[in-house]
Amino acid sequence: MNSRCSVERLQSALAGNLPEDEETSLHGHLEECQECSALLEDMAGCGTWCQETASLLVDDELDEVIASHDDGPAGDFAADFAVEHLEPADEPTVLGRLGGYDVLEVLGRGGMGVVLKAFDRDLKRCVAIKTLAPHLAQSSLAKKRFAREAQAAAAVVHPHVLAIHQVQPGGRLPFLVMPLVAGESLAQRLAACGMLDLKEVLRIGMQAAAGLAAAHEQGLVHRDVKPANILLEKGVERAVLTDFGLARAADDVALTRWGIIAGTPQYMSPEQARGEPLDGRSDLFSLGCVLYETATGVSPFRTDSVMATLRRLVDEAPQPIASLNPELPQWFIRIVDRLLEKDPARRFGSASEVSELLEGCLAHLQQPRNVPLPATLGKSAARRAHSVRRFKVPLTVTALLGIGLLAAFLAAPPPDISGEWMGDEWAKSC
């Protein structure tokens, strides 16, 4: 060590406190002086730290795997899935066989299940097969729930509920067989179009609610109503609900095992987010979220984190619909707001009520002169009315109402209809 070396100087260099000229001269010195270099490394803790730092900061094999599979080609997953869960098939176009079906491709996958496109040799048709997610299939409890829920869902026969052809509860991977729908999900439609026009919103809402009503009659709660679970058939104006009760198969396992919930928090009802017992009114809240999003292009409770979403679901009102799409009528906003009531008792009483209401609204929208808005809208609005302007400008309203609505208006019980339907708010909305 020569005279130019000093511990203090090296310390200052480590801290970045050396004046520039001294720093430069130190750089030169270090190139010659092995001792100082070694001392500097020692003082920096290189001996014990360098190796750990390097091994922890460098990308490891797992990083490579994660990077390569993140949104990577579905082919990898399909191949892995086929090898692990399907019986081998001879034909090169077939991924493998599952319970007598030729599996052709993996259509989609989520945390709870995998959807396959398959060919039914006996009936010579293509079908969609939904299997329980492999990680859930390890639990016999999950398998049982899946089978039970799938069988319950199969009992719901309704034009707006996707039929279940067959339930295969046993085997390594339980699955159910459904028709292959030509079309897209509402989620896909929204991704492409942003938002839909009100007639479409009402039609989809009415049909989804009718499907829910059929299931609720059988005591089945969907638990996972969301745009991805509403399929829009190509060519015909028909929306069908899928995945009835299947959320529950995973949900119950998660709940009983870990005391936690599965599902998409974004469309969950507050009672669901709290892990409370549910009835059909929980689905109505989720339907409200779907209507909100379909009409505005914005999901009402979407945030960056699960936790924040849960908190918003439980106690925050979404951004007012009118601020997102000012063209929407007040009556539509009130329907969605009522569906999104935090307290289930303040929502509509049943899915069939909602379906009828939306049907009536759609009829009104298509023929505003001949068909009045459903009178029940007045009742609900009056009951909940907060800042309602009552009995205001009846003449203007009457002028706008048209004869049909006036007739309904007169026929309805006066106290119920006396709400905001008569205010200028209402007039504006038409």
Partner: protein, 199 residues
């Protein structure tokens, strides 16, 4: 003791706009990558890992009502870290045995049972957590130093290039590369220690 749903909610609400809420967000940002990597390492595919991860963090969030500031020593943050560590390690163990656990008390056990130090799952968790800690510290230090300083460190320490070679590559003097490397290492150390104290 089971709390009523409204109590649970109010406990969740207590976190809003408070330092606890900040702690929660901080906690998530550190632990999510840790848990994700652990699950992937245990053979879960991307979608499955994300789903399970969400479930596990929901479990932690729902256990917030078990946090009693008057009884627990240390911070909310520290408590969260402890509970998450217990839950994730115990989950991995249970998964290995494919056992079915039912009931709230089991969750309670999973959140509170301290896993043994020598377990493979415990070692994996702690290793991943340390890795995340280093990455976080590295991110912080990288922002604090000049890009050339960081490059010099990365070349020599992580990639393993010799100081002379790195100097040529970066157009610096070898001595400057050495100083840069040591400066970053020293800062990293200090930052990791500081983070360890607050985590």
């Amino acid at each position: 003791m089971m709390l009523s749903p409204s109590t649970r909610v109010s406990l969740l609400l207590r976190l809003r706009d408070s330092r606890d809420h900040e702690s929660w967000m901080e906690f998530l940002s550190l632990y999510e990558p840790v848990v994700y990597r652990l699950l992937r390492r245990n053979g879960l595919q991307d979608a499955d890992a994300r789903e399970v991860m969400q479930d596990l963090f929901l479990a932690v969030s729902r256990s917030i009502d078990r946090w009693d500031p008057s009884k627990e020593r240390g911070s909310f943050r520290g408590w969260l870290a402890r509970v998450a560590r217990n839950l994730v390690i115990n989950w991995l163990k249970q998964r290995g045995r494919r056992a079915v656990v039912t009931g709230d008390s089991k969750l309670h056990t999973m959140l509170n049972r301290l896993p043994a130090d020598g377990d493979a799952e415990t070692a994996d968790f702690d290793q991943e957590l340390r890795r995340a800690l280093f990455h976080r510290a590295a991110e912080k230090v990288r922002r604090e130093v000049r890009p050339a300083t960081w490059e010099a460190f990365w070349e020599t320490s992580v990639i393993g290039t010799s100081p002379a070679e790195a100097a040529r590559k970066l157009g610096m003097r070898a001595g400057a590369v050495r100083v840069a490397k040591c400066r970053v290492i020293a800062r990293l150390q200090a930052t990791v220690k500081e983070l360890e104290k607050t985590e």
